[in-house]
């Protein structure tokens, strides 16, 4: 998918696990895994807001667009 989610990098920088993030943002681990592995087809603004608040980052830090990736 051309839009890549950099959740792994952000979690690593903050020494946080996916489980920790799931607890903080109130999103299921299953859904966060779907997001992390690039299988999500869409993200709600409420989810984006919760992740950015928990990771203290900007939406642009979380997602990058790279042309040509599938």
């Amino acid at each position: 998918m051309p839009v890549r989610i950099r959740l792994d990098d952000l979690l690593h920088d903050r020494r946080m696990t996916l489980t920790d993030l799931a607890d903080r943002v109130g999103i299921t681990l299953a859904n966060l895994s779907i997001l992390k592995t690039g299988k999500a087809r869409a993200i709600r603004f409420s989810t984006l807001e919760a992740i950015c608040r928990a990771l203290e980052c900007q939406p642009g830090d979380l997602m990058i667009w790279q042309e040509g990736e599938d």
């Binding site: 779907i34 999500a40 087809r41 869409a42 993200i43």
Partner: protein, 166 residues
Amino acid sequence: MLRVTDRVVWMLEVLNRIFMAVFVLVLLATALAGEWLRSRIGAPASLDAGTVIAAVRLVMLLGLATGVAVSTIFRRLREIFAAVRAGDAFAPVNGVRLRHIAWALLAIQLLDLALGAVAAFVERAAGMPLGWSFTLTGWLAVLLIFVLAEVWTQGAAMRDELEGTV
């Protein structure tokens, strides 16, 4: 509730099959024992026994065709019930099933019109009322189910769009 409804529909389907079997038996009787039936029919003077037999055959055939359409409705209904019980009410295939039900209902309405035509002919020839009358309810149901099928299909598409949304 759904389980009870499913059982009811199952019993109605059994009843439908029994009726269809009776229609087949009557058809066979007109074919194999036509002469005997002709001699036994107390047809009014204005209507010969042969015409009565032909009318009976036609009505049985219309009944059989109706039974096929009714069976389609019951089968599709039970398939929808199964999908809903499995937690997948808005599977796209349920929109298709509803459309099949609508087409089967339309077939039943058309067969009913044909039955009305036979009844009108017999009434005029025999001079006795048979009690068939046109009702709008079935036709409205056809329209309703087609609309519902379209709504269901769009709902399934909307659900599909949400799939994979976090």
